[in-house]
Symmetry: D2
């Protein structure tokens, strides 16, 4: 992962952690269920953006390096990892 | 939302906030991209369990009350909210 | 499910079946992988819209009837079914 | 895409088309909403498996070729396409 993706992702995750603390306060204040769920879904969306940015950077660095390399096992390994990430997000 | 769902959800969200702080540390330590993504996906799964539990409690309390009520607008409102939550999670 | 939702859903599913036959032809013509995946994702989106419309109708008919009924087991059963549908679409 | 993935995917999509025709019959027979939704979700899962298999084959053929190639624009193009597929499946 390049440095700017790392910095941006740390920033984004700190924001998500703050968001989740805000949702905890909503629960403590007995706020309306649907409003709480909407905020949880927004936090999940922010996490999805974070994982997309990391995967994007990963494809352009580690995956590109591995595929340009002569080691077939290493190529196989990085592609299998990308598929594992994709399968997890894809409809069960 | 009933009290036990509220308490359990607060507990779960505090755990997710701790998890996300752990992911921030992984990024600061320059850990492998795929390991970071896997942890982000695990945090999203925990958030999904939280929103499911809240929706379950909501159906059994607010939605049930509204539907047993004579106010057709109120029934319509709570069902539209449930559908909005469902549409958000459903495949785009 | 009301009659208009049923008719509309049958229409929509016939369109999805036609869409999938079109994707099979794309494969037979050795079209580009990403274009095939994009069409599969579009078919999934159409199926999501179909299941949302059915759930919406279900909430307004069967679920509303069951909740307005005195039979607590029946209420419990229909709400558990709605949650099962929601859990399936929600992030694993 | 290799020949065995293409053949297997065509077989799988023919099975999904048959499945969807079965769901249309369920609707015509006025079967229970939740049973219809469950079958739609199963058809979506089969489509997800199909798109995963195509993406897997695509990574091992076109993407690997493009990345091993000297053309930076082409590398950029195939990686952007993979990310577009991933973003579509990821939580909105």
């Amino acid at each position: 992962m390049d440095e700017s993706t790392r910095t941006e992702t740390i920033h984004r995750l700190k924001s998500v952690a703050g968001h989740i603390n805000g949702i905890i306060r909503m629960l403590e204040e007995e706020r309306y269920c649907i409003d709480v769920i909407t905020q949880i879904q927004a936090a999940q969306t922010a996490l999805s953006r974070a994982s997309e940015n990391i995967l994007d950077a990963h494809l352009r660095t580690c995956v590109t390096d591995a595929i340009q390399n002569d080691d077939a096992d290493e190529r196989e390994r990085v592609l299998a990892e990308v598929m594992q990430v994709f399968r997890h997000t894809n409809k069960p």
